[in-house]
Amino acid sequence: MPALGILNVSDLSTYAVEDFIPIDREVFFRLFERQNEFAWPFHLLALGGMVFVFVQVYRQQFRFIPALLAVALVVVGYSFHLRLFSELSWTANYFAAIYFFLAGLLLLTEALCWNKWPGKVDSISPLRCNFGMGLSLFGGVFYPLTVAFVRDSIAGSEFFSITPDATMLFVMGVLFMLPVIHRGLFVLPFLWCVISGIIWYGLDWYPGLVLWLLAGVSCAFGLWTMLRHRESS
């Protein structure tokens, strides 16, 4: 894997985003098609996973949710980033690391909170829960449908636990719905949304910029709830 050090820092201002994206847009979309072909019918299991998460959140039973999200992240990190995307760009190895690292943190959270979750935990505000629900529904349902609609192809769309953006948006949404989640955990989904938005921008596919929008809105919402919490306590 080449080091980032091969870039001459003084030249950075002369680079455009697309200079760091060694792929054509159609080739990138083909990755989604190939990933979907490879994964089918795992999509059904992933759908079951999403339903399980929502049911568990509704029942205030949070055990297993972080572990399930971690599995989804590892599946995408390996099967999309390392298996497919890294053939096209060495940066995918770093992207996979983001997914694996977040998965590790979620497993740690699962382990540390194991005894807290069945008992009484400070419940989170309905607003935060609704926000998280909206974001995860967007990532798990509306984003895949939007991509399929815009591209006129369901085969090349994004899905939870299959492709990167849908997975990360769903994970980020669920994190908002979980109590006792360390704020630091939001950094990696935020980072991914920024990176992915840069990729879509470099590929001139502007619907993908919704990731920047959602990253910004999530960040603003997170800060706002934090400040509100501080003021009231």
Partner: protein
């Protein structure tokens, strides 16, 4: 257009269209070894070897990974390239899977004899020059590159002496350095003045002509061949012209330009210092357009001025 040129042009077009008419990929070795002398050529100053003036790049366009469907489509592009007189293919370890996609395509085409393989050293590790070359060779499925360049001047101080040694050992024919987007021209100039290199690769197109002031005259003076990268400004320029309602002017047709890509390429390769331009494409139809610039007349100094004026008024 003179009658002789016109006849030559017709012959080339006929040959090319026969060879391109949907022959299956396998078993086309005979057709892909086109007679390259019918095309516009320039000399590589350090050797006198002649090279057809339109080659091809592989940045983005050939990075398709292990996708069989896309690999096959890239092999078709390579076939079009060779059947229409292409020689130089430029790639780099930086371009993801492009090297191995080219290597795969070359194997499918039974390694066309006319290939001029140009690759790059792209590592900051100054001791890894030979290892980097070997790895690239294995992707291309070749034993030797014609040209090895230090990509974007990355640690050129360490790589150039090692490339020189590889050249002396007969492991590579020509050596050089590359840059693009007008970056680090001062440093490039120093290298051209102080090192015995055969090639430089830099960005030169109708809207980015910074190299004209110092680098191109220096290349002529030092006898260094010049490869023009980003001939379409990364696609932006050709896209803009094709989307505009403007057709190419009639007088440009007399130069053998049938479309905007050919107009842009002919301008570039008609600069006396430029040896070859390397447009990249992922489409057979675009490759056919680009390779059309290999035939017909080469614009004179006067005609170049006219071409530039015309284009700058449009963009």
């Amino acid at each position: 257009m003179h009658r002789r040129q016109f006849l030559q042009y017709c012959t080339v077009q006929t040959l090319a269209s026969v060879a391109m008419s949907g022959v299956p990929v396998a078993g086309i070795a005979a057709q892909v070894n086109a007679n390259t002398s019918q095309y516009l050529q320039k000399e590589i100053p350090s050797s006198g070897e002649k090279l057809n003036v339109i080659g091809m790049g592989t940045w983005q366009t050939f990075n398709v990974g292990s996708d069989e469907k896309l690999r096959l489509s890239r092999t078709k592009i390579l076939r079009t390239f060779f059947t229409s007189g292409g020689q130089m293919i430029d790639s780099s370890p930086m371009y993801g899977s492009s090297q191995s996609v080219v290597g795969d395509g070359l194997q499918q085409l039974h390694h066309p004899k006319s290939l001029f393989a140009a690759d790059k050293i792209w590592t900051s590790d100054g001791d890894a020059t030979a290892a980097d070359m070997q790895e690239s060779l294995s992707h291309w499925q070749l034993e030797k590159f014609h040209l090895l360049q230090v990509h974007n001047l990355v640690n050129w101080q360490a790589h150039l002496p090692r490339l020189q040694a590889l050249k002396e050992q007969g492991k590579v024919k020509y050596i050089g350095v590359t840059t693009s987007h007008g970056r680090r021209h001062d440093e490039l100039e120093k290298i051209m003045k102080s090192h015995a290199i055969d090639f430089v690769q830099l960005t030169y197109n109708m809207t980015h002509r910074e190299a004209e002031s110092r680098l191109l005259p220096l290349a002529q003076e030092k006898g260094i061949a010049v490869i023009a990268n980003r001939p379409f400004d990364g696609g932006y320029l050709v896209d803009r012209l094709k989307r505009s309602s403007e057709a190419i002017p009639d007088w440009a047709r007399d130069l053998g330009c049938k479309n905007w890509p050919q107009f842009l390429l002919k301008y570039i390769v008609s600069h006396p210092a430029i040896t070859c331009a390397i447009p990249a494409t992922s489409k057979v139809v675009h490759m056919k357009e680009n390779m059309g610039a290999l035939v017909g007349a080469i614009p004179t100094e006067e005609q170049r001025k006219h071409m530039l004026q015309y284009l700058l008024a449009l963009v």
